[in-house]
Amino acid sequence: MLVVEALSRPNLFPASFTLEDGECVVVRGPSGAGKSLLLRALADLDPSEGRVVLDGAERDAMPAPRWRSLVGYVPAEPGWWAETAREHFLDWDSLAPLARRLNLRDGIGDDPVARLSTGERQRLALLRALERRPRVLLLDEPTSALDPDSTHQAEAILAEWRAETGMAVLWVSHDPTQAPRVATRALIVERGSVREERA
């Protein structure tokens, strides 16, 4: 379980909420309201105040790389540090079945990342994060560039993954129809304030 108490940073007022094991909570709100700032603060990619606890372990008491291997983060525009897709994975070949389910074509692993479409990069970034088997996954509009079929596939895979591993998901989405499909609760972010309501 992820417990967040009075988490704040510049442009984000103190936010408190919990995320149960296997739960998916959607994060909604207008552009620029602070949704990505909230996710970055949770991933400890920006300095923040407050308390974040995962399964009883304080974030600030564990090394940041360890924290981020437990709390994965997929930004809206994922970064790439190597030339081909497969170089970004621990074991690309073992992920082939999952890649196929996400409608990624065979052989994409050997393509230069720069030549891939936005949608392909989004799905690869999701796979890359899942490969590390995080306890919590922070997703920033992970399906914004996907066609409906790929979107449903991604939602289905994440639902299965949550059920099987107990991974919790915090999912930023602008799609009003997606929220009730994937989550039961929602965090609404407006002008840096976070409040909770039903998805």
């Binding site: 991933a43 090394p63 790389p65 981020r68 930004p75 970064g79 590390r132």
Partner: protein, 263 residues
């Protein structure tokens, strides 16, 4: 050892070439005649002053004076490193990192050269220490400035790639490694190129100066090789410490990218 002394008239004749450049600039409308004249006058005044200071310094052979002059040279070079950055580190780091690394690298290499190879008596004899430091400093400064500028530019441009690795659980050393390599490679390029081209494409100023001063070419070459090795050592050491220090400063203890530490 014999050399041909120059008198004022010889220098004035050579100065005609600069005037000729100025005249060409006016005739072709290049608009650099004034700049060139000012630069030429600055060069003459600066060199005359340096000549006087060195004459006085060499006559005194004082360890404190030599150290003070060396210190001033490092401080000026530190300013130059800062001026060559597109985006400097904020606060004291902007000046301190480059200057500190240069102080360390150029200082270590110069003292090494003086105490183990040249061995003047006393070892800090300014006739050897100051010119040697000057040559090492000039090249070390270029290496550090290039390394730091490349690093800060790359961190700005490739922030999302660095954070992608951090977000997957890599530490800052792993995430920054490709950028550190790129910055160090850029920093060392001038020294490598200059070593490769020396003797074929260019005859180094120090060596030609010695030959004009009456030194046997083989002796001048030996000095030049020694100086090139010292320069390579100084540039490498300075750039490594500066780039690693820069990479550390542009991240923090929680392994985050800290672009807010750049101006």
């Amino acid at each position: 050892m014999s050399y041909i002394r120059l008198d004022l008239f010889d220098i004035l004749i050579a100065g005609v070439l600069v005037l000729m450049n100025g005249a060409l600039s006016v005739a072709l409308g290049l608009g650099i005649a004034r700049k060139m004249l000012v630069a030429a006058i600055r060069m003459v005044v600066q060199l005359l002053l340096v000549g006087m200071v060195l004459t006085w310094l060499f006559a005194t052979v004082s360890p404190w004076l030599t150290m003070a002059i060396a210190f001033a040279m490092v401080l000026f070079a530190g300013r130059e490193i800062m001026a060559r950055q597109d985006r400097r580190l904020t606060g004291w780091w902007g000046y301190g990192l480059g200057t500190g690394c240069m102080f360390l690298a150029a200082g270590v290499v110069t003292v090494f050269g003086l105490t183990t190879q040249l061995r003047p008596d006393p070892w800090y004899d300014p006739r050897y220490a100051i010119p040697l430091l000057g040559m090492v400093l000039g090249n070390t400064m270029t290496g550090i400035a290039l390394g730091l500028n490349t690093l800060s530019g790359a961190v700005r441009l490739r922030r999302s790639a660095i954070e992608a690795r951090l977000a997957l659980g890599d530490d800052r050393r792993q995430a920054m490694a490709p950028l550190v390599r790129q910055a160090l490679s850029t920093a060392m390029t001038p020294v490598v190129n200059s070593m490769a081209a020396t003797g074929l494409v260019s005859l180094p100023g120090m060596m030609t100066g010695q030959i004009l001063g009456g030194v046997e070419p083989v002796e001048a070459v030996k000095y030049q090789i020694l100086v090139m090795f010292l320069i390579a050592g100084g540039s490498g050491l300075g750039a490594v410490v500066a780039v690693l220090g820069g990479a550390r400063r542009l991240t923090d203890g929680r392994h985050r990218v800290r672009l807010d530490r750049l101006e």
